[in-house]
Subunit: 430 residues, 2 copies
Amino acid sequence: MSDLKPTKPLSGFVELLPTQQRCFDECAARMQKTLKTAGFSHLDLPAIERAEVLTDKDNWEEIETQMFLFQKGETKMGLRYDGTVGLARYVAGNINDLVFPFRAYQFARNYRGERPQRGRYREFYQMDLDILGINELSLAYDAEIVAVLSKAYESCADIIGKTYVKVGNRRFWNAMFEWLGLDEEQARTAFTLIDKKDKIGEEFPGALREKIGNLANEILRVFSDGYEEFSTKSANLMSAVEEINSFIATLNAAGIENATIDLAIMRGHAYYTGIVFEFFSESFPELGAIGGGGRYENLASKFSKTKIVGVGAAVGFSRLMVALLEDNKIDLAQFETPIDAAVLVMGESQLSFATGVCTELRKSEIVTTSYLDAYKKFKNQIEFADKIKAKFSIIIGEDEAKDKIVALKNMTTGTQEKLTTQEAIKRIKA
Amino acid sequence: MSDLKPTKPLSGFVELLPTQQRCFDECAARMQKTLKTAGFSHLDLPAIERAEVLTDKDNWEEIETQMFLFQKGETKMGLRYDGTVGLARYVAGNINDLVFPFRAYQFARNYRGERPQRGRYREFYQMDLDILGINELSLAYDAEIVAVLSKAYESCADIIGKTYVKVGNRRFWNAMFEWLGLDEEQARTAFTLIDKKDKIGEEFPGALREKIGNLANEILRVFSDGYEEFSTKSANLMSAVEEINSFIATLNAAGIENATIDLAIMRGHAYYTGIVFEFFSESFPELGAIGGGGRYENLASKFSKTKIVGVGAAVGFSRLMVALLEDNKIDLAQFETPIDAAVLVMGESQLSFATGVCTELRKSEIVTTSYLDAYKKFKNQIEFADKIKAKFSIIIGEDEAKDKIVALKNMTTGTQEKLTTQEAIKRIKA
């Protein structure tokens, strides 16, 4: 008979062991530090928004299958599914308190109410970064955001491996479709096919020809011969090609070497208008895009009459990290222990002295844990220090407490010496 | 006519401006660093748990008024309201992968579904710290957890002001009630009255006498003459007094000077069994307890047959920080800007050089933002640097880009000099 409740988290929710969590946290910290160093402000917005902010639809029952929703009194609300809706609301509401161009990042949990699949979680961390301008924003920021995000990934490269970024440009295609004289319907179809090009593979040329006839050849030439020769075809194409080239030049100047132009990158979202980009993992390309974004024209039109232009990116942080951890693609050795020193206490009467020693070690930023079950045998105590993989143990018995010294044991070499606390601190820090 | 959606967050949800957020983050980081330095592992558990994990009750409709709940397929689930349920589930589920005594902290959002009141949020950060043992855990950890939490608050004292901690002991009162010969009903009443002593004030003696007659005098003497003299009354009282005294001795040894024994501290929660404690803000005592905790006997009985003993504390982090921010009790000057250098670009042709300069500055960990709307007037550009309160601006015009130098302007003194990027880095870091 067992009335015990389940100990597993709900399906679609991530739970890490301490060693994995330290790895996760380290990557999260490095990425965020990169963004802060590039002048991005951290925004920590509520996870719950009004339903009307989350969606324009009011077919409540269908929305409920996709989101986590609830009603409190008259108010319908739900858990956010991305960082964009909150950002738009926040920026519109605080427009007079922010300085534009405004750089902001979020590192936050988002939620999807759908049935979970492998690699798709119901709760996941996403890092959003955006640069926003009022009415206008130089195209130079497009390269800036790709450069900053590239550096953010690079800051974790020794842990998560290398990444690369493919850059597309929607303005180029709009100019191209205009030059080809495609009607709206044809342009939409061509757009969709190009977006799916890598998935369709060999059938792409045929599918494109079927829809727009011989005009398809010009589009295919973009992929075979390159985009640059089209600059002579029209003023808009010239301007788009210049935009791409100046984007590349700026990226090179920023020292980014892992970017390539791939005009098949479209990113389905309707709101992108210019540059679009996607990041991939070199060691784990099967994951597909691990982050991406682009330029958009009017972020907050639902919240404000002021036009907010921007370029932004979203990083599927949980998606990447959990996949790497689950597939053992990360060497966790460096995260196995954070403990520099385990203080072991041989008897109750030495507790006070041992506590003082802990305080001194911690003041020197030595990560110090203590084993205070002083009635336990020495065997248990040293076993604890072993199990937590402490780099040093500090053994405090009757003699040590009396003489105000400690026995410092190097857990790797096994050597042991009697030292003052200050000498022990120096030894540990060495 | 306006179809614009509301830009305010839902009532009961906190949203900070960037400067406030930097202050919030800095305190959160310092507190967490203190815990890590004391060997606590970070746990980041799901915010959503099965309803049966969150509550033993099944009166769904009543629970729904207190929590955020939803149903997905057959499964009822909800947002957690504290860190304890998740911790109990996690530890029970991962018992063989953890080393005990296990030190863990959480810094996470919790949720209350009730109607929000001033100072009570629907979404709030709480920091939970716990030390857990299997079957047993030395009482010495009680002082350890108070010492560590005290240091955590102290790490932010220059921002949030000083704190102090009052320590009670439930074991003392159990021994006292036993010695007085109170029956169960009387003991419960006495417990409740002592718990409310500070609220009741002058009426406490009368209320107590009304319930337990002259035996009340002995309890009143604990508050007037001190607890120590009761150590001679019974073996259990002696053991409780010794526990208190050794607790204080250990705390003193840890260098904690802001702790006092106050046996009126009880902390309503049923699950505490020994030491209980509450932290208060010196500058903002009206807030009441800003953190607290105690010793408990069986954390995970709902999830495991293994007895998990522990001592823990919870810090109402949002509650404290938002109250301090709202009442302007924090000097935000130091958080006004994180920007060391604003790179201003005078013309499009200098964008590449400017981007390279940004990369070099950031590599040296100089927080650098750039104003890339190069077509804007210099007036707009320098206004931007002023508004974001950058410490330096770096002006890049045609001459600078040609000579590969920068004009570094100290925004406080107004002085300006032409330097190489490396010289500028040295000047900024100086």
